[in-house]
Amino acid sequence: MKLHEYQSKQIFSKFGIPIPKGRVAATASEARQIAEELGGRVVIKSQVLVGGRGKAGGVKLAKDPQEAEQLATQILGMEIKGLPVRKVLVDEAAAIDQEIYFAITNDRAAKKPVIMASAAGGVDIEEVAATHPEKIIKVHIDPLLGLRDYQARDIAASMDLPREYWKDFGTIANGLWKAYSSTDATLAEINPLVITKDKRLVALDGKMMIDDNALFRHSDLSEMRDIDEEAPAETEARKYGLSFIKLDGNIGCMVNGAGLAMTSMDIVKLFGGEPANFLDIGGGAGSEKVAAAMRIILSDPNVKAVLFNIFGGITRCDEVAKGILAAMAEVKPKVPMVVRLVGTNAEEGRQLLADAKMITAETLADAAKKAVAAAKGA
């Protein structure tokens, strides 16, 4: 789960990381009011869950409250990479001397958290990573011990950060480690961490991603999820414990198991079709879950055929068949459906579906070919 900048910075602040004064606004007049309270110049920053906001014109500097209102009106009407801007963050503007990149993330290869820091911070950190990887300092943290103070000092020294900032940098490093570890983050990033002209270290921007699998112990963070930022079908799918991702093709796919679901998409493509979605009903799905999955697939008007590929292990094929029948009675689909059932109770499942006028297939390749043909004929 991604958090917005303003949410990430609130968390940073809770752990002692200095952030600019500011608040989030949903209307231009609110933005003006915040600018009046702050006094002086402010930055108006669109709050959408994609990168590249600045380059897209979603971050602007305003010299007074009137301009803040104008710019907020402009930004609140924008779409950035397809996402409408619904909120802006109004922050006091900082006079910047230097920009630093500072983040903690999971290094899956090393099986450890890793700190990444660079004195060449700012918007083009990906560019730095590609062209000058040596300018990015990486330090692994032992997950059983946590960040040690000497590691923070070593990073400050490696970045040639002047000694007068080491103590404050240490506080920020510790704060970021605590923010990362106590929220089960997969990413806690400050870009940029700036040295201001009046010689303070401030986190101007913040980005956090939280491990969905850990949300059971963070009810406060779960409430921060912005469902406006995801496809409604994905929100609906999560409610039923289904893993669903919408794609641009026209062949709906319902599969048990993530690897097999990906493979089913791939094989549709291999035989000349385009998958409309990724959908994993998970292990041991009952008929109710299957029916929900089918409603979600058929709610996409692009779908011209549906492919069911079920390899019964823990999942019973007869349960899946019952779910398909229940959903068909309710939704009355008009598109052709191709079904392949193998494994646990496959025969019972096939019998249940015998009267349902579905196209049946024996092998995965056969099922995909039939689905592609059905979608073209529809």
Binding site: D184, G259, L270
Partner: protein, 286 residues
Amino acid sequence: MSILVDKNTRLLVQGITGSEGLFHTTQMVNYGTNVVAGVTPGKGGEWVLDKVPVFDSVKLAVEATGANASIIFVPARFAPDAMFEAADAGIPLVICITEGVAVQDMMRVRNYLDQKNVRLIGPNCPGLLTPGEAKVGIIPGNIAIPGNVGVVSRSGTLTYEVLYALKQVGMGSSTCVGIGGDPVNGTNFIDVLDMFEHDPKTEKVVMIGEIGGTDEEKAAEFISSKMTKPVVSFIAGQTAPPGKRMGHAGAIIEGGAGTAADKVRALESAGVRVAKHPEEIPSLLK
């Protein structure tokens, strides 16, 4: 011969009285797996299937039965504790089936288990199957027959497809190892490829990968420098969009890395034959 588990494995089931644990214990016992004990805290003294004693802790179970492998079916929020408990009780092989373990928990578990020299399989995996000898996990026993093909995979049902496709043409497997779909897990491709290379029963290997991470690329290097046995592969996720987690926590293309195309290229340049779809695998093994 086989790898990791066989008929001498003395298996302990953590979470044996839960619905998943009980269902799969029944399946494993029916297959012939030597299940010697179960653990559910608070239910010590009970029996499962009239033959498997239940204990309150892993330590007590090991002392009483000499269990030398443990399989974990407890819910995700308790699974890390179960893995620590198995390691502290001296179990050398731990298989965690549970899906949805938090990744920071897994980093702590993995680093701790490494210090104790415990081999962990999973989490978020279907476990192990040595056909005809031991089923330690949830892979349906009837879809595979004994043979000389070693199978290693990050996926569950996709592995079943492959085992089933092999069986259709009369090919069997030495051992099938599901290493799981999480970004931080216990055992990786190289660990298992190395075991297959040294296992006299295994003559050919099937490696099933998917998008995310760089384990397949590292495996490709290992195959070209260390392996003499032929390897056939399949990589899932050719059509997966970047930045989206495809069901498995570890199946995500991030910052341009972890694409199926990169993995296929690395494997092919290591001399691995990569199937276009899973049902093509048996013909590539011939």
